[in-house]
Symmetry: C2
Subunit: 406 residues, 2 copies
């Protein structure tokens, strides 16, 4: 369970719920749901009581451990478990130590320390990563865990919760089936459904298959006995084999990075309509500097000309969104950054800027290789600005992946 | 409610729940929660029944309307409402029309059309945006709405649901209080909590205040009568006025964009450790080309030297992560892209690359102005790679905002 108006209304992405669910599923714990709840006491208590009543062995709540009036999690956990909220001297001392010297000493500091030092009676205190302690409370049927909201603090305090006896006891009772993840490109969901129907019936019955369509790709998660997974995997390989670009859970960025590393290659980007999202995604990977030199966000046509060296007559004659410009951008990025591979994107993300012959969603991609080849692709994407940019990102990485594989 | 293993485990960010919750709250509907549920029939039905039993007037489920075996939403809605699932000829025809020509005609097509054309008996069909129709079903106490999962389809089909009589009737019964959003920089949550305590008690009692800490900023949402909101807002302005950088709901990117537009200025970026995330965020705004020329992702030191013109002796003598390099990058971006403003980031995002004198989290920012000034700032951020990059993004935009305001 995730508390907080900011998460509920999308000001902050809920990174905690999915990360914890993924971690628990990997440990063999079946997750029955994630819930985001507003900062209202009664709704928080109700959201804690519902899974306890439904027989959940573990209920985790993140967020709402801070000093402000709308941080209600510890009080809600106490209420849901039917115990008192008490100021724990050890927890209070941890908060005091970690907030010392932050901001002026004011009359309300003692109140704020009492607030962040309060935990449900009988709970174990988890040492803070930032300033807020967490807590583990074992009730008759369920273990309740309260973790801080900032994802890096949650990750650290969750490790401590895992080591606590009540949580360890829950995990010791689970048994885990192996899991396999395939990523597939350019296959419609209906085509995949059809391919799946050709797998042997026993395999289909015993393997749980999840399908997720995202930005032009499908991600398929299988969980079941190894033999049946092999049968299902084999059937899919016969039907749509070339479209399966990874079966070991790596992301598209990781596959591309491995392809570059294998060739000892370095990449430069030239992004127009994607405006930096390809570079941002690649540099999420630690150690990207081994294979990624950098890029040019050539949003303005003058940047395409002056920094990337796209000829003025190409920009004027063919236009900034054209096969010729995409090719010249890829070559220009490679030259400007002095590396061996270049990848480019130019297109019309919208909502404005479309014309009859060049509508919103038209995107050209270019890939320049060390042997002087320039491979260009044209796409027409539907949807809004965000979707056109997201699909262009994925399509560009696939173009590079295919050319690297050649 | 959001269905789908992919959302549950974080492979896909749940964009639908928060967007719908925000839209409903703006229309005066109090949202009691968002839940992500795995693709298991019994859990889906349970997740629909719980809010109906708790008295919810409106229950919306997104996702699970596709052709694969794990798309179970329509069947779960029917089960939760106690009606049959029936193939609706109009819905089936919509699917057929929209999937025609996609992929080969195979023996299973009729089954797939029947699957996507099935809705709960008595439901209104919502015309698809992609291939999957939605549905609106009025029960004795609640209105159930099923929407497709891809966010752009969900947005379009939700507009149709809003126009349907059952949903319109729910909205007509609500009454809305006004809302105000403040964004605040460089104020710890505990300092904000203290400032809030200085507001008049009646205002504190009648205004619901939500506080969200994110990447160094606080976002504060107030909802209540205008007079009391003015009183609260006034108290906060007296206590921490200079830190409030927007009170009209605009994002940091929008504030920076407005500052550039007001000066008729154009911006160029030079990003090292942020790797393009500042450019990606700015170009999310439609019409960014009016004030944003582009940028250089200078991940490799040679790019800082060759493309941005950072002198070799600065890179060697002071290092790539230094005040001098940050300043030279900002000046270099401005010169290379031939605009009047430059903004730069260079730092150590980690996990590797830190040293005793230059630890992970050390970030220098530079801002070059048209009158030849170069303003440089130094930060030491905590947390992991993602957090260092996110905080550097926000800090860089604030540096530009302050210099633009001077």
């Amino acid at each position: 369970m995730v508390s907080g108006n900011e998460v509920l209304r999308g000001r902050v992405r809920d990174a905690n719920g999915p990360a914890l669910a993924d971690d628990l599923e990997r440990r063999g714990v079946a997750v029955t749901g994630i819930m985001q709840v507003p900062d209202r006491f009664n709704l928080l208590v109700e959201a804690l009581r519902a899974p306890i009543a439904a027989g959940a062995a573990l209920v985790i709540v993140t967020g709402g451990l801070g000093p402000t009036h709308d941080d209600l999690t510890m009080a809600a956990v106490a209420e849901a478990a039917g115990v008192r909220l008490v100021v724990d001297p050890a927890a209070r001392a941890m908060v005091e130590e970690r907030t010392r010297g932050r901001g002026p000493n004011r009359r309300d500091d003692a109140n704020l320390l009492d607030k962040q030092g309060a935990i449900p009676e009988g709970a174990l205190v988890l040492t803070p990563a930032g300033t807020a302690p967490g807590a583990v409370l074992a009730t008759a049927t369920a273990v309740l865990v309260a973790l801080p909201g900032p994802p890096w603090e949650r990750a650290e305090v969750w490790e401590r919760a895992l080591a606590s006896p009540p949580v360890a006891a829950v995990l010791a009772r689970t048994s885990s089936l192996p899991e396999r993840t395939l990523r597939i490109t350019a296959v419609p969901e209906s085509r995949f459904a059809d391919a799946l129907l050709r797998a042997p019936a026993p395999a289909r019955a015993r393997v749980e298959v999840g399908v997720c369509a995202r930005d032009g790709d499908l991600e398929v998660t299988m969980r079941g006995p190894e033999g049946e997974m092999d049968a299902l995997h084999g059937a899919l390989t016969r039907e749509i084999g070339p479209a399966i670009y990874t079966d070991d859970g790596r992301s598209l960025e990781e596959v591309v990075a491995a392809g570059l590393v294998a060739r000892g290659a370095r990449l430069a980007l030239a992004e127009s309509c994607t405006g930096g999202i390809i570079a941002a995604g690649l540099t999420e990977l630690a150690g990207a500097s081994r294979w990624f030199a950098g890029g040019v966000v050539a949003y303005e046509d003058a940047v395409k000309r002056d920094v990337l060296g796209v000829p003025e007559d190409v920009l004027v004659g063919e236009g900034a969104v054209s096969e010729a410009t995409a090719g010249a951008m890829a070559v220009g990025a490679r030259a400007a950054l002095n590396v061996d591979w270049g990848l480019s994107v130019t297109g019309i993300a919208g909502p404005g800027g479309g014309r009859q012959d060049k509508p919103v969603g038209l995107v050209y991609l270019g890939c320049a290789t060390p042997d002087g080849r320039v491979v260009v692709a044209r796409h027409q994407f539907g949807g809004d600005r965000g979707r056109v940019r997201a699909r262009a990102r994925v399509a560009a990485l696939h173009l590079l992946r295919r050319v690297l594989d050649d």
